[in-house]
């Protein structure tokens, strides 16, 4: 039996008016695989994550998650656009961490992590609390349970956001430039947490990142986006060592100059 991909983009197109952001994208991600998405701004890399999180509507193509269509559903033997109920059923398989954390400012770190497990998964308060405490310990914030987002540093807030996403027990985790809004000295603590998730949890991860060093060391595969398409992809050694595509080489050398 062949293992089916956890995530599959099948000819996915996304347009904003006349602008085509994703151009008939095909992409398969296997269970447990860690894929880093790199590329210049405007290349569509963040859109990939936003489409997968159902934050954007699809114009063409189908996205599959865990063997089922995400953006569509089966009806009378055909695939039709998913309704709200189908989206809610499928969305539970995916978690996302945002560039700007998007923590709930009126809730403590603990409450941020308990909210959706209680309201969406219908866990009891005790269960949700135990789960939240365990995850906040895992991201190194056992002593900040009752702190509000405004009382935490950017790195701490982002770690709470990771714990909050994990509390929903997703199969796929999306990281959208999660260190881009952080002061340089706080980047490491967030990357360390992601490293830990990679080694301890059986998660499929898709991350858009500008941290080339981290992508190289952490990812199983690197996809270089350009103009709404994957211009080149492969294991990190290949992309960072001997990129075939001229655009990839240009982009990577520009990134190196920035350091």
């Amino acid at each position: 039996m062949t293992v089916q991909p956890m995530v599959k983009f099948d000819g996915v197109t996304k347009r904003y008016g006349a602008l085509t952001v994703l151009d008939s994208l095909d992409l398969e991600i296997m269970p447990g695989e860690k894929v880093a998405v790199i590329g210049p701004s405007g290349s569509g890399k963040t859109t990939v994550l936003r489409m997968l999180m159902t934050l954007e509507k699809i114009n063409d193509g189908v996205i599959w998650v865990d063997g089922e269509p995400l953006t569509h559903m089966h009806k009378d033997g055909r695939l039709v656009l998913a309704d709200a109920a189908h989206l809610r059923r499928m969305r539970g398989k995916i978690g996302m961490v945002f560039q700007h954390f998007n923590l709930f400012p009126h809730m403590s770190a603990l409450k941020n992590c308990m909210e959706a497990p209680v309201t969406v998964l219908k866990l009891s308060k005790e269960e949700a609390r135990a789960r939240a405490v365990e995850l906040l310990e895992m991201v190194g914030l056992a002593d900040k349970l009752d702190h509000y987002p405004a009382q935490l540093s950017g790195g701490q807030q982002q770690r709470v956001a990771i714990a909050r996403a994990l509390a929903m027990r997703p199969k796929v985790m999306l990281f959208d430039e999660v260190t881009s809004a952080l002061d340089p000295e706080l980047v490491g603590e967030v990357l360390n947490v992601i490293r830990r998730l990679g080694s301890e949890l059986d998660l499929t991860m898709l991350m858009v990142t500008h941290q080339m060093g981290f992508a190289r060391e952490f990812a199983d595969r690197v996809c270089f986006f350009y103009g709404g398409k994957i211009a080149e992809q492969g294991p990190p050694e290949q992309i960072f060592g001997q990129a075939q595509n001229e655009r990839t080489r240009q982009f990577l050398s520009a990134c190196l100059e920035a350091i």
Binding site: M53, L55, P105, E115, T119, V120, Y148, A150
Partner: protein, 242 residues
């Protein structure tokens, strides 16, 4: 130094004497006016409840409800913002009976003023909800919350803080517009004042006292809303700035 003190004493005693002279016997008006003030306060409080409910329902319906309800909300908001409160009051009081619906004066007063202020409040609610950053909505989607859950648990609590100062304004507006109900036979503060004025012609005393009473009620609203705001902001961003 002594001279200066003497001048101050002279001026103060002269003013006090003048005040006492002109307000002599002003006490006789106070019980009646306070009774009227009680009616004014009742209408303000009940009207505020009606206004907040109407504003929340209409404001959210205008943003999120399916089109027939959304359309209804828009009609309500535009109708009550676009016509005078006095005409609305008269319409409910004098016109509705022509269609066989006769309401008690107090009911009309509370409904008309509540609906009127609620129409302005709907825009306050809409503005405050729209001002919650989009990232908050996206976080609720990523956590698979329904739109209702998101609105109730995440968006409205944040919007609430931003709503408090404009609601303070509207409540004071409401208090002042209660004076209109004197025109539909209700013995509120303004009605009592006019009645007393007609029988005693003590215009200065009566309307000065009324002024002070309105101001006092408005001040209570201001202080109350400020306390509410401080509490809400405190709950929102405890220990901001570490």
């Amino acid at each position: 130094m002594v001279m200066r003190k003497l001048v101050v004493v002279a001026v103060v005693s002269f003013s006090a004497g003048l005040a006492v002279a002109s307000f002599a016997g002003f006490r006789e008006f106070i019980p009646g006016l306070l009774e009227g003030a009680l009616v004014t306060i009742q209408i303000t409080l009940a009207g505020a409840v009606v206004a907040v409910i109407c504003a929340t329902v209409a404001g959210l319906a205008k943003m999120y409800a399916p089109w027939p309800l959304r359309w209804l909300a828009v009609v309500y908001i535009e109708l009550f913002r676009g016509t005078s409160a006095l005409v609305q009051l008269f319409w409910l009081f004098f016109v509705l009976p022509l269609f066989g619906v006769t309401l008690a004066p107090m009911t009309v007063a509370i409904a008309a003023l509540g609906l009127n202020i609620g129409a302005y409040g709907a825009e306050v609610v809409r503005g405050a909800v729209a001002a919650v950053p989009r990232g908050q909505w996206e976080a609720t989607t990523a956590l698979n919350m329904s739109r209702t859950q998101a609105l109730r648990r995440i968006i409205l609590p944040q919007a609430f803080v931003a709503m408090i100062p404009p609601w303070g304004n509207l409540f004071i507006e409401l208090l002042k517009s209660t004076a209109l109900v004197s025109l539909i036979t209700i013995s509120d503060l303004a009605f009592r004042a006019q009645q007393m004025n007609q029988t005693t012609f003590r215009t200065l005393e009566i309307f000065t006292i009324v002024l002070v009473i309105y101001l006092a009620i408005a001040s209570i609203i201001t202080v109350g809303m400020r306390a509410l705001e401080q509490k809400a902001v405190g709950a929102m961003v405890r220990g901001r700035g570490h």
